[in-house]
């Protein structure tokens, strides 16, 4: 399958599952995994950065439209899309600089660091913009940290799902 079409299908699949399934989990009443960031996490590394940032913004906006949180997910997604090269450098070091990494064959430890960094930043941006109250900083951090654990687990599971699809 063409790379562009397969990316579009992944995006649509992620949006639908996020909106219909993952937005309704509400563990302990307020925790939802934001699995759609899998798209930003596993977007091909050799890319047109302008297009990548823009497509991430659109992805966030679509999620926003569905969950009536206009702008929140868009802001968080565009932030991690812009910062992604920095996180790649931190978690993969030399391999990233020489452009030889492929998401398929990196070990779990590096992958875990990379996914955790992206999802924690995403959640902190999302929840601090949503709650937007300095006196509740602790609550924001707590909420983003606990939701991140949830999101990271879901992302790792999802990555195995896509691996089997590719073979």
């Amino acid at each position: 399958m063409n790379k562009l079409t397969s990316n579009i299908f992944t995006a649509i699949f992620l949006i639908i599952t996020q909106v219909i399934i993952f937005n309704n989990i509400n563990l302990f009443g307020y925790l939802n995994p934001f699995v759609y960031i899998v798209f930003i996490i596993y977007y091909p590394i050799k890319n047109d950065r302008i297009f990548f940032i823009f497509i991430s913004f659109l992805m966030g906006l679509v999620i926003d439209v569905f969950s009536d949180t206009l702008g929140l997910h868009a802001a968080a997604s565009v932030t991690i899309a812009y910062l992604r090269p920095i996180f790649l450098k931190i978690s993969f070091g030399q391999a990233y600089i020489y452009q030889v990494i492929k998401f398929k064959n990196i070990d779990l430890k590096d992958k875990l660091i990379y996914i955790s960094l992206l999802s924690i930043v995403h959640h902190v941006v999302l929840f601090s913009l949503e709650i937007f109250n300095f006196s509740k900083t602790l609550f924001v951090l707590e909420k983003s940290f606990i939701s991140s654990i949830f999101t990271i687990t879901a992302c790792i599971l999802f990555s195995y799902l896509f691996k089997t699809n590719e073979r």
Binding site: I16, V19, I20, N23, N26, G29, Y30, L31, N32, R49, I50, I53, F54, F57, G60, L61, D64, V65, F66, S67, D68, T69, L70, G71, L72, A74, A75, V78, T79, A81, Y82, L129, E130, I131, F139
Partner: protein, 260 residues
């Protein structure tokens, strides 16, 4: 000139990021009519259709509970009708039934989507209740769907009062727990005690007086020492609602004219 262009070319990623990020911030913090007209919310025809079709599947899962609730409510209503003289022609309020197709309670500003809209004569600013109490107020209406501001929304203020006296205050959620809501600005001399029932006040054009909200779980004086702040436990389980009723005030136009 050349240097300026170079600068933009070199930093084009950052500039794009900054533009998109500020664009999202504008969307988050503005309530302008421009964004209202964009239909970027869950009542536009596409998103509502997605929710409607997923809802048509999931609604089968708890049919039995829903039926029991409805039968119970019908018995109560029958009792009320048999015990009162009822005149259908001069009703102050009309009631429409509706189903929730999208519920949310995990954010600070929660909205619900229901499957009735303009074509069912629903308009903005109508009250939405369930059989156990207040749910919210309609906010945006498309042709066959509408969006409801949930009472679990930090932007919504409602007029509410104690059932046993006429002291009233402002009901507003602090965004913390989805099973309790805060009643503020209640005068110090009002006779509050734990377990008292809180109902909607008569000062609202949207809700009739006396719709149940919740019961007092704790109370204290606020910073000014003049008003009481009450923690209200909601009668509604906001995480488990399906059938709701929309209340239309037939005297609304008249009341609004009077206040202009």
């Amino acid at each position: 000139m050349r240097q300026i262009i170079d600068f933009f070319v070199r930093n084009k990623n950052f500039i794009l990021f900054l533009t998109l990020f500020s664009f999202s911030l504008i969307m988050i913090f503005s309530n302008s009519s421009y964004h209202n007209s964009l239909a970027l919310n869950s009542t536009n025809s596409f998103t509502a259709k997605v929710y409607n079709s997923s809802n048509s599947i999931t609604s089968y899962f708890n049919l039995r509970n829903e039926n029991n609730e409805l039968v119970k409510e019908n018995t109560i209503l029958k009792e009320i009708i048999f015990n009162s003289k009822f005149n259908y022609d001069s009703l102050k309020y009309n009631v429409f039934d509706s189903k929730i197709i999208k519920n949310s309670y995990s954010f600070n500003n929660n909205y619900l989507t229901i499957d009735k809209g303009l074509s069912d004569s629903i308009t903005e600013d109508m009250g939405v209740v369930s059989n156990k109490g207040v749910i919210g107020i309609t906010d945006r209406v498309s042709n066959s769907y509408s969006r409801v501001i949930s009472i679990l929304n930090t932007k919504l203020n409602l007029n509410a009062k104690l059932k046993k006296s006429n002291h009233f205050g402002v009901l507003n959620w602090d965004g913390m727990s989805f099973s309790s809501i805060q009643l503020k600005d209640l005068p110090k001399q009002s006779p509050v005690s734990i377990g008292d029932t809180i109902i909607t006040g008569g000062n609202s054009f949207i809700f009739p007086e006396g719709i149940l909200i919740g019961e007092v779980s704790s109370y204290k004086l606020d910073e000014t020492q003049n008003y009481i702040e009450i923690e209200v436990d909601l009668f509604n389980d906001m995480t488990d609602i399906k059938n709701v009723y929309i209340i239309k005030n037939n005297h609304l136009e008249e009341l609004k004219e009077l206040n202009e």
